[in-house]
Subunit: 587 residues, 2 copies
């Protein structure tokens, strides 16, 4: 399986697994783990505690030589070409703008949902692939492509960073037309920047990393930081209704974007000009967030930008238990000193973070022991109960100082103990490494998934407990080896509730059809979340893995009206990827 | 003309003019003005400077005895009854739930748009009236009513506080079906309150005043404060995409509401449960803001609530000129100490505020003179140039202190001079009196209008200058007597721009068809605003007076898709009030 791409511009040798080709995890002979490259906080040092920690948690023994074999050469069905359409494309576009190559087709036929997609690509096979990949380079290209798709009845699937974790890129098995993946990443230009009004217009295929680099050159920042920042695109953020780590300061995507240009088969959806908040009848722009590729191609967007912050400061705290941490978060969320980001990780995730640390040198080890003694003995923290909060404060110096003073003062009320900026920063750095860890573990028969929800404050504990209990129950029912692993963090706070981000893992060695079982576990856990007051998703979106739960989310007439909107905008179902409200058989 | 209503519960003897029957303005024999009652900061004292100020500004002479006569008995066309529908209503509902009386019909056939509506009701006549008024008391009532409307092909027009200033309640002349005004104000109950998650569910007909009173009993506040707060309703706020004075702290309506229940002819639009921010595909809920009655009846909504603030503090500042004031506002808007509200009034509005003051007693007059000396002579402020900012700070004591310190420190950078809390508070109190003033002046042949827009920071001065110039030009073209009056304030700040709220007045004594001319002036000024970078509306909405400008606001395909959404939701056009995207002739 090759990591192949034309995305040299973003320096990402991007493949079927998550992220950059220079970065992966390996086990050394001494059973320590190392992350290759030098991209991340985890890169380049030995982690001696990781394997023992995983073995303890899952109650398994990892055999270094026993790895799950990746598919050497996937069986790839030949493309289902629409000859007239293909001819028309060849007549209009140069060869470097389209491809029928197997490797390109495979690369564009999946996202990063472990069970359904990554597992199939690496260890089994995908049922349906796109038949052609088209590299869109301009609005005119996109317009022409849509025209041809209408004329020759071809299905188009917008493709950004390919980082979907909701099977939004999974192709409908019942689709008999040729399917063209429309890769938007060559449309990555800054169109204009408006320094006084603090906004900029970007083409939609730009990745978060490129976008921030571009803005930084002008002295600005957008501040939208989803965990997929390096790979995901502006268009993808809009299509999934994305959330960023620092949303308290910069907003989630729907608060950042001021105008979207969407090409549909029936015309261009956009405002004539971006405006600050306005009252202009029903605001169609607001409906475009979360369209998940159902409506058309997002070509460009105007976003809010901010001068680079004077100060960025990290912080961290520990609390004796999760409940006290939640109470602290509640007060911060309703205070006048909300930091750019504040997260609370549960005990499992806290210990997981510890397990990723290097072996301490002797003097550091001594200080570490002293610290531990202070925390555990003098302050009475139980290592099996304690949790940690990480904080990012950003802004003018006095603003950050005001936040810091108040946050730490408040923490004391909940027995919080400050644990320093380094631990805080480290916590955020780990975020970018999680997907690599997931891919690494899967080769040792450990498969898992991240899933998230939004939930009212009062239901946090209820949802977490119910998910933990249900996972235990499913693990027993499916007779899986070892023990299941669950951890969670509160990654965002809102006025009425929070986002909880869960991770679970199970050991699947010797298990038949693990991808099916894991899919069923994910589905069952979502059911548990919703039954206990959580939402269908906070920011991953619905895609196809959560379609079943739309009926628990919206009234029947709401769903029907959304389907009518799709029909009105795209009567021929050119954008036939069929996410969220659209089932396989629809339209 | 009687002020008649069944709204005893909100204590508003509500009529064709704005507001409460106990409050109006009168000129005394000594040419001072007094506001009756004791509701407002302006009530109960003599204002000796108002008439001279107006006379000077408009270059006219007001004759006390020469008042424009209100219509004594408007000619009211008999109701266009649909006999079968009427019978069905009579069979199902008690008599107090519907009315064919002329006074009720008239009351429900207009909003508060001066030229188009108030002027016609008071001094001329309305072309089209509703044929029946239905008082909705429950969701079941609403459902039944819609069923009957479908069955008998009747047009329904939702009616909340009746405070629309966009002709949203103006009835289409081409409507041949019976039109029923659906008065929602009896649906004014608090359904539930969730203290921990800080949200509450209210029926949509509750007025702002009732809603805040209800919440206050539980120790909470919603904080949504449009100028129409006393009269307008929750459902109306959603329908117009309303904005509140303290939006910096509490949000505009789209940030306050977490779930809307809308009854349409094709079913109930709602989320199954309110959730904090979520990603669930295209969010139909977001589309409902600004529907302006086109889609259905808003029955109830879940809103965010807040504990009562520890502290509310007013403040005020003066600046040598508007430009410096705008620069100050820009820095505040991008700072970490944004107060709940901050406004900047231009020189005309500042002086208008001064003209509403009482005659100072001798010692106060002396102090006033001293103050003036300090400001004008020592600090070199030009009385024809200086402007004022008013501020509301709300929250915990330390938060308010932090805002206050930083705001006043920043103001110095722009030659700002603190002018005390009293002036600040007074500035906000005037807000509620403006509509009474408008009605008062209109009886002396002075007619005017308020109109607003959102505009990028860089275009503020351009838009204001262009509007002033165009008003001069139109005044000349129409050969109107005296001089035109224009004033404006920046009432809201956003990251990328502001809301500018304009008021204009002209003297129309001896002018033929003043309502036509004034309508043309309003239309032309809106054109000027849009041509210079402003939006169609910040919070008044589109209704009918701004329909012409939808094409300057949205792409053709956007408008067409919105029309298709309406068609899908209401194929028979039961909700046929035809605002924003729908023309007289549509559907």
């Amino acid at each position: 399986m090759t990591n192949k791409s034309d995305r040299s511009s973003n320096n990402a040798l991007w493949g079927h697994k998550w992220g950059y080709a220079d970065t992966s995890l390996k086990i050394n002979e001494d059973r320590s783990v190392i992350m290759t490259g030098d991209r991340y906080a985890l890169s380049g040092y030995k982690m001696p505690y990781l394997i023992p920690y995983i073995e303890e948690l899952l109650d398994i023994k990892i055999e270094l030589k026993d790895v799950l074999e990746e598919v050497k050469q996937a069986y790839i069905t030949p493309p289902n070409c629409n000859a007239d359409f293909t001819q028309a494309i060849a007549d209009l576009f140069p060869a470097h703008q389209y491809s029928f190559e197997d490797s390109e087709r495979l690369l564009h036929s999946h996202g990063q949902t472990t069970f359904e997609e990554v597992h199939k690509v690496l260890y089994s096979q995908l049922e349906r692939l796109v038949d052609m990949v088209f590299y869109c380079e301009s609005t005119a290209d996109a317009q022409k492509l849509i025209e041809l798709a209408i004329k020759y009845d071809v299905c188009l699937v917008p493709f950004g960073g390919g980082t979907s974790v909701s099977c939004a890129l999974k192709l409908p098995l019942t689709e008999t037309r040729a399917i063209v993946s429309v890769d938007m990443k060559r449309m990555n230009r800054l169109e204009w920047i408006d320094r006084e009004n603090l906004r900029a217009c970007f083409q939609a295929g730009i990745t978060g990393k490129q976008l921030e680099a571009e803005l930084r050159q002008h002295g600005f920042v957008c501040g939208h930081e989803p965990d997929s920042l390096e790979l995901s695109t502006l268009g993808g953020w809009i299509a999934t209704n994305a959330s960023g780590m620092k949303k308290n300061r910069y907003g989630n995507i729907e608060q950042i974007v001021e105008n979207i240009t969407l090409l549909t088969p029936t015309g261009v959806i956009e405002q004539i000009a971006p405006t600050p908040r306005a009252s202009m009848g029903m605001q169609l722009q607001n409906l475009l967030f979360g369209n998940e590729g159902n409506l058309g191609l997002i070509i460009q967007a105007v976003i809010k930008i901010h001068p680079l912050p004077q100060v960025t400061k990290y912080g961290s705290l520990i609390f004796p238990n999760f409940d006290l941490g939640v109470k602290f978060l509640y007060e911060v969320a309703h205070s006048g000193f909300i930091p750019a980001s504040i997260r609370l990780v549960d005990n499992n995730q806290f210990r997981f973070g510890q397990a990723l640390k290097p072996k301490s040198s002797s003097i550091l080890a001594y200080l570490d022991k002293l610290k531990k003694f202070y925390v555990l003995k003098l302050r009475g923290f139980d290592p099996q109960q304690m949790v940690a909060a990480t904080i990012v404060m950003e802004g003018a110096a006095e603003e950050v100082a005001y936040q810091q003073t108040n946050i730490y003062a408040l923490a004391k009320k909940f027995q919080g103990l400050a644990t320093g900026a380094t631990n805080g920063q480290r916590g955020y750095m780990l975020t970018y490494a999680i997907a690599y860890l997931r891919d690494f573990l899967s080769s040792y028969y450990i498969t898992g998934e991240t899933f998230e929800t939004s939930v009212p404050w009062s239901e946090i504990q209820q949802v977490c407990n119910a998910v933990a209990q249900q996972l235990q129950e499913l693990h027993r029912q499916y007779n899986l080896p070892g023990k299941p692993y669950l951890s969670y963090r509160i990654s965002q706070s809102y006025h009425t509730g929070v986002c909880i981000y869960f991770m679970f893992a199970v050991y699947i060695k010797g298990v038949e059809h693990p991808e099916v079982i894991c899919g069923q576990i994910e589905h069952s856990l979502r059911q548990t979340i919703i039954a206990n007051g959580g939402s269908i998703s906070h920011h991953h979106g619905v895609g196809k893995i959560r379609q079943d739960f739309m009926k628990d989310t919206l009234s029947p007439a709401s769903i029907e009206l959304l389907r009518q909107i799709k029909k009105a905008s795209d009567p021929q179902n050119i954008f036939g990827v069929r996410n969220n409200i659209l089932a396989e058989s629809d339209i």
